[in-house]
Symmetry: C2
Subunit: 208 residues, 2 copies
Amino acid sequence: MARRSDHTREELEKLILDAAWAIIGTDGYNGLTARGIAKHIGYTPGTIYNLFASMDDLSLHINARTLDLLYDVLADPACNDPKKSPAQNMKRMARHYIRFAQEYRPYWLMLFSYSLPEGRRDDPWYQQKIDRLFSPLETLLCPYFSPRQDGQRQKTARLLWASVHGLCFLQETGKIALAYGKKNGGKAAADSMADMLIDTFLNGIKSR
Amino acid sequence: MARRSDHTREELEKLILDAAWAIIGTDGYNGLTARGIAKHIGYTPGTIYNLFASMDDLSLHINARTLDLLYDVLADPACNDPKKSPAQNMKRMARHYIRFAQEYRPYWLMLFSYSLPEGRRDDPWYQQKIDRLFSPLETLLCPYFSPRQDGQRQKTARLLWASVHGLCFLQETGKIALAYGKKNGGKAAADSMADMLIDTFLNGIKSR
DNA sequence: ATAATAATTGAACAATGTTCATAATATTTA
DNA sequence: TAAATATTATGAACATTGTTCAATTATTAT
């Protein structure tokens, strides 16, 4: 058959991405297959390749969705409350990140799993979604730097971001046990460590 | 055929792991296939399943090798030089870690890639290899904590470890650009950030 | 109506992990 | 030594995977 015009090209693209999103949520990103998506939306595998160059390309679009969601979480005004200290806001932001990784676990894992498209990853539209992830944290760091020290501030933001991500990653993948001793082996480990990191690090900045 | 007794069971096991190691070094861990290993050692795919329960099981043994190598790098006496300050030793240790991730990139990526055996990952012999990764850093932190604060010291070690790992991970996978602006986009970003992290963090501990 | 265009199909291909009856070789027993 | 037994390598088979593409069909333009 052909041109069933059940859906426009854009609708079909969204249909595919929605199906993929649902499958990942259920079966993890390893459970994502072209045939699975096709069956889910009542089409055949070949159709998917009409709209996406490859499964990797499709994965990139899924990751873009995840990045958008993550940005919304980090840019939440609750993490930039003028009535609270920068440290408090940063801690809240860190908790938001850690909670995001838990709630959207399969998507977050997919985002950071290797074996994804090396090629199109540096498309400007994708890279832009990544770069802006740091900006909420950069804003919170303003009180600690003069306007001349923009470079330092950006560097610090990326440093703190990567550190919290490292904590979160080790906890969430479970590849390396963050928890020490017997107790506190649960989800709280990364939260508590992020707090400690932020307090100590900001303390170190102030007394420089 | 059968029981060619060209090799003992142990020899064959080593033969397979060596071949797998070589293949990963060349083609990355996605290029690792049962048939590829078999061809490499002059056997057939079935043989591999005589010695390893699955490809995941085999991957776990590869990861164990990587963990051993990584431990040796972190436990290098050069990172515990009594003539140098703890900060200097820590910076060197961080650089060792970052350099390891670069030199042994495919193995290091494999170690932290998801989709690996969930089941056997918490075998004691494997978990032990992971736990000891922190001990060199714990040692370096001794001057900052009283013997009563062992828990705090361990927590701090894991925190710093995860942070450096986070820096390294983002740089090495390239998923999130650590480099800010145009220049310094190369390998030095993680090094420089690790230095800053260690200086600032230790500074924060001292003035607590 | 007829022709042109576009989209959907589904069969095909190569490659994957994994299983298992079969064949071939050691080892043990008689 | 000969036969019985235990072990192990084999390779064909199965179910999946991503991906391609000629054929088919529905829509649009003439």
